[in-house]
Subunit: 409 residues, 2 copies
């Protein structure tokens, strides 16, 4: 396997340095650069300042093969990426008449007159190639300085992605030969996955495998390079999938709600929900999927015990005897949900905290019940973390329990 | 007003350079550093590599007064922040026997034997001050190099925040005299807010005011420095609040669901929801608030038209005549929700897309109805954006409509 080539990312924008906003373009750029055979060894966010930009690109260009700069290409006085990069390498800047004319025409087409300041977007660094921007006004620029390629892209994510995909992928990707595959697992902890796959680290190389985890979901990102990369990733996928077993629910762009709904749809069934501590999160997750309505009929947020009785038909004695957070009530909620006109149901009741915990049922205690025509499932969990974490974990595990019930069907 | 002092942030961790994960500690650190009178002029994410760490902290310490380094202080071979920082300044590292003993005792208390490798967490850079970590095992370290203070903190957010707040805020904050206030507005667009407050930029200075917007909510972050900072921020707050009027729903840690629920609670009323296109998101938002159960009884996710009829008692003819996405159906859903045992109700029906749009009711068409004993509200919106954006905007606007209805009460 060939090595990944070293790249760096610079996000220009003073607003990215405060407590309220993060650069996220670097995720997009990391994926696109990865497809070109580059991996980031450093990312920076810096101020809208000529000196700061010049220093950053100068330092990075001396030790990586690709520097991607995002932002600061617009028309306002704050937009000084062109000036900073030019200064770093002692290059001039010239206004391209043809580009200025195209900008004017673009403004005219949308019924506006181009403000004089907008002509700055036609300023091109000496020796740079113009990368047209079909999604916006400011074009990108590509510059070769010694052994380093510098790419200046607009900060608007859609524009950055389009220019990268249109102009840079074709240039780099065929030479790079990179293949990746992301396997999605549910209902497992990162540490357990790590233990199960550790012997494959030696076979394929630790640096080809990334484990990412959060809220009951674990992703295995597999990567290979070189002429055989597609075959290598296919072999890796087979090995990892066989170890993951039923914990594996999909790959790449699959999501847990979409996979679970597809399994219900496949059998011609419908699904309803009955939620207490999650307050609607299970329904909200399921309906992130476009077209969910042909499978998911809806459900009840039975936050109060009264609604558990009136809408789900749960016996008040059952609640009094076992408590609202109990296996009995979870299962009765699931039965009640099926009566809404669905063959399948997910029901959730638990103590999300911070209040409401007892010694017998501390904060984090959750009961999940699933009904399908093929069988029923119940799990009791004691989840760690705060209210938000417990609720997210509960919603994910609940949808995963439906998926597992349908695997058995 | 005194100027903010220049600081930089370095996140150590190779996993932060890939396409799947962002450093978010820098947001936490920016807020805490801001309270100490520092503002970040640069943020970096770098690899778990001694040379990379040494280069970054060396470069930054030469031109800022505070460098915050996050991560790489744990026990594993990847954790090389100590070594990198020591190398940058030609300093030695020594294992502190007292700290090693404390680590061993900590492991013993939790019934484990300390692995030999964990003793690395007792390695302290020559001349550094140990910053005890009450939340975890790896302590922080503080180092003065020339005119720069270097602070090494664990990458676990809770540990980073606790050490910063315990050891650094008292040291820096009294000298800094910084006051901030965040005003939260709902139901308005960023551009409209910007226009309304623009004359205050001149009065207080553009750099003291940050406008942040997203999904129907706008935050105004106000900041002042110097001996009079508390008075200045109070004066700013008064001016901005008077312009914001009823759009202002709270400040600092207030959230829209918490404010809306508190308004219902104040009057001794209860609240129910009836949701279609949001699929449970309104309920999920409301129940992010601890203690929501004394006000929010729950509701119905009436995703199918059948459930709109059976659970909310909506006339099938009304749906046939006006369509499920209509003022009539939204208002009937709200009436149905009050029958679940609540004086107040929020109801939502809309076309979230990508499918389901028509010429008369394109994707983004949403009807929101609110009932309270004090009066009813209805809004029809045509929201821009994709499915996820439309749904989030709808949930926020719906909860804001309840808040506005109660303002009038």
């Amino acid at each position: 396997m060939t090595e990944m080539r070293r790249a760096a990312f610079v996000a220009v924008g003073s607003e990215l340095l405060r407590a309220q906003r993060l650069d996220t373009n670097s995720l997009l750029a990391a994926r696109l650069a990865g497809n070109c055979g580059f991996s980031f060894v450093e990312k920076r966010a810096i101020e809208d300042d000529v000196e700061a930009i010049a220093r950053a690109v100068g330092e990075l260009a001396a030790r990586v093969e690709l520097v991607v700069v995002s932002g600061g290409l617009g028309p306002t006085a704050d937009d000084v990426t062109r000036e900073g990069v030019a200064q770093a390498f002692g290059l001039g800047i010239a206004r391209m008449a043809a580009l200025e004319g195209a900008l004017e025409a673009r403004f005219r087409r949308s019924g506006r007159t181009m403000p004089a300041i907008a002509a700055r977007m036609a300023d091109i660094i000496e020796g740079a190639e113009v990368l047209p921007n079909p999604q916006g006004t400011a074009p990108g620029q590509l510059l070769q300085v010694g052994g380093c390629t510098l790419v200046l892209l607009p900060g608007v994510p859609r524009e950055l992605e389009t220019i990268f995909a249109t102009h840079l992928l074709p240039r780099f990707a065929s030479a790079a030969r990179v293949a990746t595959r992301t396997l999605h697992l549910a209902g497992v902890y990162e540490s357990a996955v790590e233990e199960r796959v550790s012997h494959l680290y030696e076979k394929y190389g630790r640096e080809r495998i990334t484990i990412l985890a959060g809220r009951g979901l674990v992703d295995l990102v597999l990567m290979a390079q070189g002429a055989e990369c597609a075959d290598v990733v296919a072999a890796m996928e087979k090995d990892f999938a066989s170890i993951a077993g039923d914990d594996l629910f999909g790959c790449d762009r699959d999501t847990l709600p979409a996979v679970a709904l597809a399994a219900v749809r496949l059998r011609g069934w419908r699904l309803a929900t009955a939620e207490s501590c999650t307050g609607g999160m299970v329904g909200a997750q399921l309906t992130t999927v476009p077209g969910a309505s042909d499978v998911y009929v809806g459900g009840v947020v039975a936050y109060s015990n009264e609604l558990k009785q009136t809408l789900l038909g749960i016996d008040g004695d059952a609640i009094a005897t076992h408590g609202a957070v109990s296996r009995e009530v979870a299962e009765a909620m699931a039965v009640g949900a099926t009566r809404l006109g669905a063959e399948c149901a997910i029901a959730v009741t638990g103590v999300a905290g911070p209040g409401g915990g007892t010694e017998a049922k501390p904060v984090g205690t959750v009961h999940i019940a699933v009904i399908t025509p093929a069988g029923r499932r119940h799990v009791q969990q004691r989840f760690p973390g705060d209210r938000a974490f417990i609720r997210e974990l509960t919603a994910n595990v609940a949808i995963d329990q439906l998926r597992r019930a349908l695997l058995e069907a």
